[in-house]
Symmetry: none
Subunit: 215 residues, 4 copies
DNA sequence: CATGAATGAGAGTTCATTCAT
DNA sequence: AATGAATGAACTCTCATTCAT
């Protein structure tokens, strides 16, 4: 791995563990065993590291959410989607815990973020539309849009919300799974009978994941 | 107003405007035209100011949410509750935008926060139960509990979520009203016919509030 | 007791416990339950408190060391002298632990101190001279002067020296008695047979004092 | 000289001149013409500088007091020992003037200090034992131990004691030589005829040193 | 006599960033 | 590419002292 990538990697790990404001550029350099000067050879400043992390996040987002990705079944596709969503959040969790302050000081990042949010919204909407066509959901357009925005809100805020509930802001995989379940519980009341069966299975699947993660 | 209160007041305003990490004790003192020494005469340190702000918040929370508060009608009571919730958030919005980092470094505050969350959950649950009895909601116990926790999550995260969407993390009253509407949209699908009419009226009410706030 | 005296009293106690540089004027006021303004009504500044303490010390010095004080015997007189010396040190022990810095910043106090030292030397010399006449010591003038200055050095430095050896600079009465014994051990080799018996008895006396103080 | 060493050097000089509590880290940095940040690049905090100075002192102590150091004669060895002792004190005199307060706040340093004191005691005792064997001293074991502890006390306290006597706590080399003479005067009465001659010569030597230092 | 709020200089320390090598 | 010493502005906090009441 190139030094530049190692810096991104280490910074991400430290940000996730300790929160971005508590990690100095010297910490990152020390963690890698390189000099601060070297770090600044690869990045103009701390903000640029955050930008790079965000770019990676945005890339993961587009790569992981190809709606035309082939799948064995619609159920499989939903599972893959949920997994992707929350794994992304897990990997970049520091970001969600400090969003307002990070974006406030960086208008460019703010725009990047909004673009990412837009694409997230688009493919979430597409996914839900597909489920309606499959006959799992029975909702009118407006209600679907409303559900969509609520889901996005909950997903985007889950880490933040849970950080505040957990002592020392320690987020574990189990917390992530709990977020998926929360989402599914919100969708469940809108489902048709056929859909309810599918969602029920998926809920059961994540309950087990969560149990094994907690153990 | 006493200096101690002026400090709390000024700190809250600055925190809300610029984010807590970006406001130094010297900024607060300068804002009030007092010496840094004087600020430290009234507060041992910056953390104690945050504590005092939080205590005020917790007080507002208990004062503003008396379930036995007399009201003309259940509808009036719901309106009052929603107003109180989101006005509280508006007043202490900095807090929601920086929760994870603020709580991480202060275990005592973390506990205070969790206590406040608990009481919030309790009275939210009581409120929803009342509506079910009135015949506005038609839900089973489990579904009600799930709705309750979702609503709490959305309410608690609204400011955080919107801070990230808004340039410079500028939160306006219109954003707050939008949050109320979001909540109502989530409750609406669960209502009875009778309930739907009531919620519809309230939604209309907040649409107008929002329109006049934006103008 | 008048406020002024209470201040002196409290300041002395705190200085002894925590070291003069670690005791602020606010600590003293708080200890007495008076306002800092009141403290400054009675004393122009912190230095003046130290001066007053020193004046009290100087007074105790002259009062407690009257060579013409009547005594049952020479032995009694020696005992009284040793007791007085080390009790004085115990009472004003903070002073000995911080002398260089206290005197450096205050030329007036420096002069007062030198005067006190001079009188201490004078009456110590008188005491030793008396013992020589009594036939307890057998020394020539020069040796007597040398012994005298050594004794003064040891007595003056005892607290300082022991502070450095003891964890947290905690000085106890036992440490004081140990100092008396140190002094007596230095005098002992110079004594005549008659003198040795007397000194031996006194040593035994202080050994018991020390044992009971330690218990 | 490396910056780190220059900092130690400058700090030591300033501490000696003005007393450790009166010298700030900014003073040291300014004295060297470096930034405060640079100082903190080399030392985590002020205490660490003091530790480093002490470590150097402890090193000088072990290096300068090799008992097996070859010497032309016992007399030469004694001279070398006395010189080393008091030169060490001169070089680190700030330390002796502020011991109680410096050690009180730093338990680690306290332990280091006690260790150093122990080794000092050991080699002083060895030196005196040697002189007894050479036939310069005629003392029993207990008396020798007592003399030893008195000498250590006097040596350790000399700077402190003299700081209080001298205006502005200004210690000069002449004061140091006077300390050596004080020590010798204390040993002198215990010597045999042979020893007395030797000590007499050494006393004469230091009287001349002192005279030339004063001039 | 007494209060207690207020002052302000300055303490120790941090950290993103630079730059000569 | 990389080092690591160096910068300097800014931060939190302290404390002897003042002053209106």
């Amino acid at each position: 791995m190139k030094t530049r990538d190692r810096i991104i990697h280490s910074a991400l790990a430290l940000f996730n563990e300790q929160g971005e404001p508590n990690v100095t550029t010297n910490h990152i350099a020390a963690d890698l065993g390189i000099s601060p000067g070297n770090l600044y050879y690869h990045f103009r400043n701390k903000e640029e590291i955050i930008h790079s992390i965000f770019d990676q996040y945005a890339l993961d987002l587009t790569v992981g959410f190809q709606p035309e990705a082939p799948a064995e079944s619609d159920q499989q596709r939903l599972l893959a989607y949920l997994d992707a969503t929350f794994q992304l959040m897990w990997r970049y969790r520091f970001f969600y815990a400090n969003l307002p302050d990070i974006l406030r000081r960086d208008a460019v990042l703010q725009n990047k973020y909004l673009t990412a949010q837009q694409s997230l919204k688009t493919n979430l909407f597409a996914m839900l539309g597909q489920f309606r066509e499959t006959g799992w959901l029975d909702m009118e357009d407006e209600a679907l849009a409303s559900l969509c925005s609520t889901l996005k809100l909950v997903a985007s805020s889950w880490i933040f919300y849970q950080s505040a509930q957990a002592p020392q802001a320690k987020i574990t995989p189990a917390v992530i799974y709990q977020g998926v379940l929360q989402i599914l519980n919100m969708v469940s009341p809108m489902t048709t009978d056929k859909g309810r069966a599918v969602v029920g299975e998926i809920i059961e699947h994540y309950r087990q994941q969560m149990a094994s993660a907690s153990a």
